[in-house]
């Protein structure tokens, strides 16, 4: 008697190769996103130079969670972009402008993720979508694996929601300049590196401002100075008379 075949798993129950937080912030002239370039396999640091911020048409999408699901989502969005800009548009032989803005990409992703969750087979991601809204203003929105959407001036996924959001809430102003926004994001990314076990100091930034959408090359955060903090060099017991209690 041959052993009965075990039915294969038909629904996602846990993520395998994951990315950690993605941060986004709206500043005076546009939107900035930041994410590190680490993919983790459980507690193993599997790949250390992988971009988690991608451009589709004039929108930047950042993902945390299962990376293979993110890759599939990008394929789906690229195919949609082809339809919208090349094959369906009545005037497409001459059209240069794409009909896809960040806002309608965000809405499309909502439909995609919600319908998958409704079949108990979610795309195991939390996505940040950055670009322009339908009125041309800076847009930042998130979609999570159960299809919840949030649009706000600053959003963080994953661990960032616990560690970075308080900082972003404290420091955000509507007239932040690009330099200030960038410094704020880098500060948050450093905090995340220190406190999130699945984070790395090698990060990438993306900017959507005016009509340009740019993703930077990965670069290392300067964390050397932090290891020199007093608390790491001297035991707390020696710091004050009462032993630091």
């Amino acid at each position: 008697m041959l052993p009965a075949a075990v039915p294969s798993r038909q629904h996602t129950v846990q993520p395998m190769v994951t990315g950690t937080s993605v941060l986004g912030i709206v500043y005076d002239k546009g939107v900035l996103l930041a994410a590190d370039t680490l993919l983790s396999y459980g507690s193993m640091a599997k790949a250390q130079n992988i971009p988690r911020l991608h451009v589709v048409e004039n929108t930047v999408i950042g993902a945390s969670g299962e990376y293979s699901d993110f890759q599939r989502i990008l394929e789906i969005l690229k195919a949609k972009a082809l339809e919208e800009t090349t094959t369906s548009v009545m005037d497409s032989l001459y059209t240069e402008e794409s009909g896809m803005t960040a806002e309608n990409t965000w809405n499309y992703l909502r439909m995609l993720l919600y319908s998958r969750r409704s079949k108990f087979n979610p795309f195991w991601n939390e996505l940040l979508v950055a670009g322009k809204d339908l009125k041309g203003k800076p847009f930042l929105g998130s979609v999570d694996k159960i299809g919840t959407t949030v649009r706000d001036n600053f959003i963080a996924t994953g661990f960032g929601a616990y560690l970075a959001m308080p900082l972003l809430r404290e420091k955000w102003r509507p007239d932040l300049t690009e330099g200030e926004a960038r410094a704020l994001l880098e500060d948050c990314m450093k905090i995340l590196f220190f406190r999130d076990c699945r984070a790395s100091p090698r990060i990438q930034l993306a900017k959507c401002a005016y009509d340009e959408v740019l993703v930077s090359e990965p670069y290392e955060l300067d964390t050397a100075a932090a290891w020199q903090a007093e608390a790491y060099r001297q035991s707390v017991g020696e710091l004050e008379d009462d032993g630091g209690w």
Partner: protein
């Protein structure tokens, strides 16, 4: 060569005693009565051109209505003629084939594969008694990113697909083919800019030769794939079309003058 079907022409699944399938031939007639389509494979690009007979003056004559050249993917386009709704179905199928190939294999569909797939599809409809063949021909222009080559194919109602240096179909195909052969494209390809001029000139000539078109402006759709279009299938820029139209007018007037002089002598 008009022969009566005499009962062998009722279904696409019936051969005639002399080995013809009349339904497929009748489908080709639909193509022969429709607007002319010309495609040229140049050394550095592909140009497709369609002559759109203005149906009647109430139709808005911009490219939006009854668009004849469609992009199937970024790197490929189809110019079609014949029974226009059939042509639109074929373009839709080509779009699906291209999207499917990219989804499965991660690369853009190679031109020959696209032409083959469309050929299989059209041929399928010539096999059954319950279906009728498509009454449209498609001229496919595409760029293969791997081999860095341009390819021009035409697929006909009987499902046959072939690759061409220059091709014409539709009402003016005989005259257009003669002109194309004079260009010697199979020995010496022209450049993309020359191809645009040739097609515009041939389409204009054919339009003017038809006395019924007296006073009616020619509606032309031209598209290309070349380095200038970043290897994407897009419409030939309107400024360029205007230049070329003016050039064609000059050329034809010169040729008329030459003819008159020759006649006087």
């Amino acid at each position: 060569m008009a022969s009566s079907g005499a009962g062998y022409d009722l279904s696409a699944s019936t051969f005639s005693p002399d080995g013809r399938i009349f339904q497929v031939e009748y489908a080709s007639k639909a193509v022969e009565n429709a607007g002319t389509v010309i495609g040229i494979k140049a050394s550095n690009g592909i140009v497709l051109g369609v002559s759109k007979p203005l149906l009647h003056k109430m139709v808005v004559p911009s490219t939006c209505s009854y668009k004849r050249i469609h992009s199937v993917d970024e790197h490929a386009g189809i110019a079609s003629t014949g029974f226009l709704p059939d042509a639109r179905q074929l373009v839709g199928r080509a779009i699906d084939e291209a999207a499917n190939w990219e989804d499965q294999y991660g690369v853009k569909v190679p031109p020959e594969v696209l032409a083959d797939r469309l050929g299989y599809f059209m041929h399928y409809y010539t096999l059954s008694g319950g279906l009728r063949p498509f009454g449209a021909s498609c001229v496919i222009g595409a760029y293969d990113q791997d081999t860095k080559q341009y390819k021009l194919h035409m697929v006909e109602p009987n499902g046959s697909a072939a690759s061409y240096y220059g091709v014409a179909t539709g009402k003016g195909k005989q005259a257009a083919k003669t002109e194309l052969e004079k260009l010697n494209l199979h020995k010496e390809p022209c450049t993309v800019d020359e191809a645009v001029k040739h097609i515009a000139k041939i389409l204009t000539m054919l339009h003017q030769e038809n006395k019924d078109n007296e006073g009616k402006p020619l509606e032309m759709e031209l598209s290309w794939i070349c380095e200038a279009s970043k290897y994407k299938h897009v419409g030939v820029p309107k400024a360029r079309i205007a230049e070329v139209t003016a050039w064609v007018q000059e050329q034809l007037e010169e040729e008329d003058d030459d003819e008159e002089e020759a006649m006087e002598e």
